[in-house]
């Protein structure tokens, strides 16, 4: 398949874009990466995702697919001969989707709360929430991985990709806040998982450099805090 048949509109810092890139790598799909510049949206992006105007957008034979986890499922279904991303058993698939949904709807918003917390008390409360979420994910990991390295078992799967997309941001939050969100006492499984995930061939070349991400996060967090502090319209 020609490289130009598959394009991904995205940006290097985005955890959502990262999910799509990892999925494409798992399947060894060659693609053209079209980087958006922060602060402006290309014509192509606006045309391809008129509803949300967000990245990532996968363009396959010029047909757009939006929403990172939907893109991951699409990749899994189209490149069916490559290693499977979703488990084959319907119950295991449901569990993977459940936790991916939890990560997006509960856990990541709590992570963002740490960044935009206006004072120490708010920050501490947000950290507690994130830690509670990680405890749930640790328990899930122990059950789902069945002693193997990944949520997907021996190979990275849907939930590894869904949660792993946020690994860079998790590390940056730890660094900036001087906190160990993943640690030997509370989350021994996820602590090891994080290293295994980051080192995985489908991940290591696309996982953003933590230093670079930390610098970038200062810009983004400043924007998020300004938006959060702005008086309600």
């Amino acid at each position: 398949m020609a490289k130009s048949d598959v394009k991904l509109i995205g940006a290097w810092p985005s955890p959502f874009v990262l999910r799509a890139r990892i999925a494409l790598n798992v399947k060894s799909v060659e693609y053209e990466f079209l980087q958006e510049t922060l602060g402006s949206k290309s014509e192509l992006l606006l045309k391809s995702n008129p509803v949300h105007k967000k990245i990532p957008v996968l363009l396959h034979h010029d047909k757009p697919i939006c929403e990172s986890l939907i893109i991951v499922e699409y990749i899994d279904e189209v490149w069916a001969s490559g290693p499977s991303i979703l488990p084959s058993d319907p119950y295991e698939r449901a569990i993977a989707r459940f936790w991916a949904s939890y990560v997006d709807e509960k856990w990541f918003p709590a992570m963002k709360s740490i960044a935009v917390a206006q004072d120490d008390e708010a920050r501490k409360a947000a950290v507690v929430q994130v830690a509670e979420g990680l405890a749930l994910l640790e328990e899930a990991f122990q059950k789902i991985s069945k002693g193997k390295s990944f949520f997907g078992g021996d190979h990275i799967g849907y939930l590894d990709i869904a949660f792993g997309g946020f690994l860079g941001w998790l590390r940056v939050t730890e660094g900036t806040g001087g906190i160990k969100l993943l640690n030997e006492t509370k989350t021994p499984g996820l602590l090891k998982w994080a290293d295994d995930f980051a080192a995985h061939p489908a991940v290591k070349d696309v996982l953003p450099d933590i230093g670079k991400l930390a610098e970038f996060s200062k810009v983004i967090v400043a924007k998020m805090r300004a938006a959060a502090a702005a008086p309600a319209k």
Partner: protein, 217 residues
């Protein structure tokens, strides 16, 4: 083979009704368990410790929570009357619109029933539903000739919930003037042979909405 299917649900919830619609369309027999949300049973808390919410589907003792996750599970487990299309691109589109309904439309519509900034809330809700109407085009259902995944996820809009709430609250969102195609679709939806037997009793729903959203005496 003993297939045991239980559903923890609430009579008026569009979320648990979605699951019922899917099961009924596929002809799957299940045990219905009504949940008292003010007094959640230990069993529900055991089956959904993370969110403590309905619906929860329990299949041969294994629980699944989150209505959209449950719908996909049902579609993958019982092959009759497919809810999602076969083609991967069409599936991605169906999932996209289901997500749009769940994450954008539903919260926007609930805001319209609230008392803060109602005019703005209604404007936003209408804009979002317009996008949905554009997606429907001239199809009978979002699923095409037959009801599908997106139609079921849109049950709040297609069923009586939205119509009754908007009347009781006194707002105009889904009207033949604003959204003619979506209105036509909602008529098809409530008249569908399986759906019409699976909507909450309308008078009970209206009474509930009056208490919850109606003008206070």
């Amino acid at each position: 083979m003993g297939e045991e299917v239980k559903l923890f649900a609430v009579w008026g919830s569009p979320f648990s009704r979605r699951v019922e619609m899917a099961l009924k369309l596929k002809g799957v027999e299940y045990e219905y368990i009504e949940v008292d949300l003010q007094n959640k049973s230990d069993l529900l808390l055991k089956y959904n410790p993370v969110h403590k919410k309905i619906p929860v589907l329990v299949h041969n003792g294994k629980p699944i929570a989150e209505s959209v996750v449950i719908l996909e599970y049902i579609d993958e487990t019982w092959k009759g009357f497919p809810l999602l299309p076969k083609d991967p691109y069409q599936r991605a589109m169906a999932r996209f619109w289901a997500k749009f309904i769940e994450e954008k439309c539903m919260p926007a519509l609930f805001k319209c029933a609230g008392t803060e900034d109602r005019e703005k809330a209604v404007e936003e809700a209408c804009e979002l539903l317009k996008l949905l109407e554009n997606e429907l085009e001239d199809k009978k259902f979002f699923g095409g000739e037959n009801i599908g995944f997106v139609d079921i996820v849109a049950d709040f809009i297609g069923g009586y919930w939205l119509r009754d709430i908007q009347e009781i609250v006194g707002v105009k969102i889904l009207t033949r003037e604003n959204l003619p195609k979506l209105c036509e679709w909602s008529d098809e939806f409530v008249n569908h042979v399986v759906i019409k037997e699976n909507l909450p009793p309308r008078d009970k729903l209206i009474a509930y909405f009056r208490t919850r959203f109606g003008p206070k005496p």
